[in-house]
């Protein structure tokens, strides 16, 4: 197709999605950045713009106001929220990988006729509302919930467990809701591995465990990488899980941003929080895009 269609005609196809994303995805970030340099006000919308572009570049620079950013760095609440989000996202990504890998591995080894059904069973929860799946865990984890009742009945514990409203509950919530995002890329890369490679390793005297570490695991790295990014990046900015399952001491930046925006109605400060969050995530996001492009090139 490439050789036949002129550049101008190509833009009939490219134009609509390109313009849409430019206006509603890319340009908004500049507006967020601009607002993060403004002051909060009691008005609708609740801020006063501190500068306009019209007065020339030197006037523009002298008007820049980094007050919101200096505030973010002076109050430990924000720094701690960022650090704790990164920590929670990092460890829950590793936990998700540990749960997902044996599943994806088992799926890839399952009889061929089962595989579409198993895939379906992984995809189905991914299509089911996030909010509902988190809600389902409240009834399990709360002190008088299913988990405590079950363990008391078994005689394993005598007092109800205190998991609800703790960081542990947030870990469980993240692992549970992001599990399909990890399994699918892992399964895709495990399923592609040629079994004769493993047979060769074993024929040459390699123990199954060693063959796994030296053959299977390295070959599944693209899936591991994609899965980890798909879990880590959104988990850093997660709001619903820490809000519904976490306690008051569970600091996560997505929740802090939400509170600044909806409860304190401080749009400029919320924007500054968003800008810094985006700066933290920009490298993983670029890595993710590169990885997806490479997959696409390899798929041809």
């Amino acid at each position: 197709m490439r050789a036949r269609i002129s550049d101008l005609k190509r833009w009939y196809v490219i134009g609509a999605p390109f313009l849409w994303l430019l206006v509603f995805f890319l340009i908004p970030f500049f507006i967020v950045f601009k607002l993060s340099l403004s002051d909060v006000a009691t008005a609708i919308p609740p801020y006063t713009p501190t500068f306009s572009w019209s007065k020339g570049i030197s006037a523009f620079i002298s008007q820049l106001d980094f007050e919101n950013y200096t505030f973010l760095f002076s109050d430990p609440l924000y720094i701690n929220s960022y650090l704790s989000s990164l920590k929670i996202a990092f460890f829950s990504t590793i936990l998700t990988l540990l749960v997902a890998y044996p599943m994806a591995y088992g799926m890839a080894r399952a009889p061929k006729s089962w595989q579409p059904t198993l895939m379906m069973l992984v995809i189905l929860p991914f299509w089911t509302s996030f909010l509902i799946r988190i809600y389902a865990w409240i009834a399990i984890l709360k002190p008088e919930g299913f988990l405590s009742l079950f363990l008391i009945k078994l005689g394993l514990i005598s007092e109800p467990l205190q998991i609800m409203n703790t960081t542990t509950a947030v870990y469980i919530g993240i692992v549970y809701s992001y599990l399909p995002f990890m399994i699918l890329p892992l399964y895709a890369s495990l399923e592609k591995i040629n079994p004769s490679l493993l047979e060769a390793a074993q024929d040459l005297g390699s123990q199954p465990w060693r063959a796994f570490w030296q053959v299977t695991f390295p070959l599944s790295m693209p899936g591991v990488f994609a899965g980890c990014l798909l879990v880590f990046i959104p988990a850093v900015g997660e709001f619903v899980i820490p809000d519904l399952l976490g306690g008051s001491d569970t600091l996560m930046i997505g929740k802090t941003l939400w509170t600044e925006f909806f409860n304190n109605r401080d749009w400029p400060l919320a924007s500054a929080v968003a800008v810094l969050l985006l700066l933290v995530l920009i490298i993983p996001i670029v890595l993710f895009q590169r990885q997806q492009e490479m997959e696409r090139e390899a798929g041809r």
Partner: protein, 274 residues
């Protein structure tokens, strides 16, 4: 990959799926509970479904949500399909890296950032916030999922079929509608369904971009969940889970039947010539 399907494999699959499904099953079962206590069983009842029907606020929210989802899924599928064609068939062009960045970044972007930035652009453009702003916001993030779904299908079908059509004198536009679109149709339908359910589920982006008078179902559910676990929420959740399950299973069935038929026809064609 093939190999021995060991006990270890079977166990990890079983435990994995138990972990994925037990919470959902408990939620569904306890929506039929007689008692108001969500964790103590007191006999079968459908009274919580009956009380849903009395709840006008919930019904209004459901109606807004369905309208937003229908509208945004349709536009997102069109834009997403165009974006997929761009990614797979257009080769290099100026702005390609930017374009693919704008397709892949929204897939992982935290909702709070997407929500806040969309709200600010609506304020800057002077849009009245409500139904339309939620719809535009949903189109923006669901079109990227639609693009990824369609792209996967476009990539692995034989490009020479398109080239043959154009060699026989078909214009690019008629080639698309008569050759390409019928082949990628199942993936376009899946893309629409995915966009629809993502829109149905979204809480965070809708909360940022809504205005007075437009409350979606997830926003309604969220405000009730914050007050505690109630059987009504279990009932509405069960209905939503039911809709999604039927949708996904019928899409899978439809796709499978289509690929089976294509396979049969191919065999028949080869049988006839051979």
């Amino acid at each position: 990959m093939k190999g021995r399907f060991s006990w270890f494999n079977a166990t990890s699959i079983t435990f994995g799926f138990a972990f994925l499904y037990i919470p959902i099953l408990l939620l569904v079962i306890f929506s039929f509970n007689e008692s108001k206590l969500v964790t103590v069983w007191a006999g079968w009842s459908t009274k919580w479904y009956g009380s849903l029907l009395q709840n006008q606020g919930l019904k209004d929210a459901a109606w807004v949500t369905i309208r937003v989802a229908l509208m945004s899924a349709t536009v997102a599928t069109v834009l997403g399909t165009l974006a997929a064609i761009t990614l797979v068939r257009m080769g290099r062009f100026h702005g390609r890296t930017l374009f693919s960045g704008m397709i892949f970044a929204p897939l992982v972007m935290p909702d709070v950032i997407t929500g806040l930035s969309l709200l600010l652009v609506f304020v800057a453009l002077g849009f009245d916030r409500g139904f339309w702003t939620i719809t535009i916001a949903h189109i923006t993030f669901t079109m990227c999922y639609a693009a990824v779904v369609v792209q996967a299908r476009l990539q692995d079908f034989d490009k020479s079929v398109e080239e043959a059509a154009m060699d026989l004198g078909a214009t690019p536009v008629s080639t698309f509608f008569q050759v390409t679109l019928p082949i990628i149709a199942p993936s376009v339908i899946s893309a629409w369904l995915l966009a629809f359910t993502l829109s149905l589920d979204d809480l965070v982006i809708a909360s940022f971009t809504t205005g007075p008078g437009a409350t979606t179902l997830p926003m309604k559910i969220y405000s009730q969940v914050r007050l505690g676990v109630t059987p009504e929420i279990n009932a509405i959740s069960t209905i939503l889970i039911g809709i999604v399950t039927v949708g996904v299973l019928s899409a899978a069935f439809f796709t499978k039947r289509q690929t089976d038929r294509a396979e049969r026809e191919r065999r028949k064609a080869f049988g006839a010539t051979g």
